[in-house]
Amino acid sequence: MLNIDSVSKTFFPHTVNERRALVEVNLELKEGDFVTVIGSNGAGKSTLLNTVAGRIHQDTGVVSLDGTDVSRLKEHQRAAKVGRVFQDPMAGTAPNLSIEENLSLADRRGRPRGLSRGVTKAKRERFAEALKQLELGLEGRLKTKVGLLSGGQRQALSLLMATYSDPRVLLLDEHTAALDPQRAELVTRLTRSVVEDKGLTTLMVTHNMVQALEVGNRLIMMHEGRIILDVGAEQKAKMTPQDLLAEFGKLKGAVVDDKTLLQ
């Protein structure tokens, strides 16, 4: 349902800083696929996600969603079908709006935003119900400004918002990387359960090899703008982080950063 067809993207072309972020990348996600993406810094993982989201437009190639070419659509147009959670916990929510107002914005994804009341009593009950799943007690703080929440709470809320109106594709860009281990664990758990419950087609970039192996039903490894490893569910279940490190080791010039090694 998500098709990435020989997509290439070069930053700063024809200069000394030229960087080929994506080179003829092909990737097809089936309905309900949960793909984890790993790779060294600068491998093109984020560019891949941004190309799907429409934040970055590819130089060549086609991105299509449900059989429709969306390459020319802008970010906000694609967002009708694409949900995102960013690495920065502050990025996915509006700090000066209350929790219920944020959820109301998420609720209207892909539908016209007119002059009906944003937060109604009926909606408020639905929001509280959904917030209970987070087990953070936020259902009792609907009118609290999101800016007053902690990073972990905000990221959990971002995840809930991104998935609230059942997007066709969910993009997660190292969304647990900026959290402390405990909160990261919580958000990972929430991610697994929401993706499973709703059967969302998901593309998740991560630095954490354990996480990459534990969640999802498919794993791809990127290096210098190419997908160099594509592992299905069965093989993935047998793999260990050591196996992945060994794969990295095979690459000439791949720099595994300290963060990855420490995990």
Binding site: S46, I56, F86, M90, T93, A94, L97, R113, G114, G118
Partner: protein, 316 residues
């Protein structure tokens, strides 16, 4: 004194417009200087041509919002810096305003205006102040209502976190244009009513007006708070009245009217600088000790939001 209250309440409508761009959209919009006069000119010329003054005032809203639309298009579709886009529209409007009025001013002597019609019932006194206060409150309530609708929420999120709201399928360009149109529409109405209040429209009446708007918003919110939209809009109206009273006071103690623009500028600078001063923030912390958490967290989150914006842009 009565006049100061009356003017304050009329200018409050403009201040609500400035609040919409400056606070909600986080966009300092200089179009205001031009669109205020455009509203005044449109209404004045229509009234002298025997158009119903209420209709003429409504027309001022339309003309004002068109001015806002131009700034919005320049900024969003033309990728022109917001301040510059506002300045460009403002300068351009100067000529257009001269064209609308076919001269530098239009007198409204002897014409039926919304103000003269009001005076027929109220005269000049506290009743007329009450009527104008009610009008300002109606605009406030409409704005409160709008900012709670789906579209209003999208507008607020556009000013709060652009990256976030575009990831929820909102065109931030469109929201900015809507915000600028509404804002300048209100400014146009205020211009129209001021012209009818003073009995003429004049090409120079909008000069420096953005400062009056900013002063009303900043001073009002500093004194009366801005925790919720409902509180913030009320603070803006009161701020506009306080500002006008302060000016009146300054004139009464014998200050030269020519110095008023300098006074406005100094007032805005003071309102912007004072909160940065350590002693002041301690003072306000104690004053609003009801929720120390909110006070402590607010500056953190806003600075974080800035950081996140820049870092995500680099990341892309």
């Amino acid at each position: 004194m009565i006049t100061a209250f009356e003017l304050g309440l009329i200018y409050a409508i403009m201040a609500l417009g400035v609040y919409l761009t400056f606070r909600i959209l986080n966009f300092p919009d200089l179009t205001v200087d031009g669109s205020f006069t455009s509203g005044a000119a449109t209404a004045a010329i229509l009234i002298t041509n025997e158009v119903d003054p209420f209709l003429a005032t409504a027309a001022a809203f339309v003309v004002g919002s068109l001015a806002g639309m131009i700034t919005g298009l320049l900024h969003t579709k033309g990728n022109i810096n917001g301040l510059l886009a506002g300045i460009l529209t403002m300068i351009g409007l100067y000529s257009i305003n001269l064209r609308i009025m076919d001269g530098a001013n239009v007198p409204l002597l002897g014409q039926d205006t919304v103000i003269s019609m009001m005076r027929g019932f109220t005269g000049v006194g506290w009743t007329s102040v009450a009527v104008l206060a009610a009008v300002a409150l109606i605009f406030k309530l409409i704005m409160d209502w709008y900012l709670q609708t789906d579209n209003g929420l999208a507008l607020r999120a556009t000013g709060d976190n652009e990256q976030m709201i575009s990831s929820f399928a909102v065109s931030t360009d469109r929201q900015k244009i809507i915000g600028l149109m509404l804002s300048n529409g209100l400014v146009g109405i205020a211009g129209a009513v001021v012209a009818q209040h003073q009995g003429f429209a004049d090409i120079g009446m909008g000069i420096g007006l953005i400062l009056v708007g900013l002063a009303s918003v900043i001073v009002g919110q500093a004194i009366f708070g801005s925790r919720t939209v409902i509180q913030a809009t009320l603070a803006v109206i009161l701020g506009a009245v306080v500002y006008r009273l302060a000016i009146q006071l300054a004139l009464n103690v014998g200050l030269n009217p020519n110095d008023m623009k300098l006074m406005s500028a100094v007032l805005v600078v003071a309102a912007l600088l004072l909160p940065q001063w350590k002693g002041f923030s301690k003072l306000s912390l104690r004053r609003r000790s009801s929720s120390p958490l909110a006070e402590a967290a607010a500056p953190l989150t806003t600075s974080d939001a800035h950081l996140s914006k820049t870092s995500s842009e680099k990341g892309a």
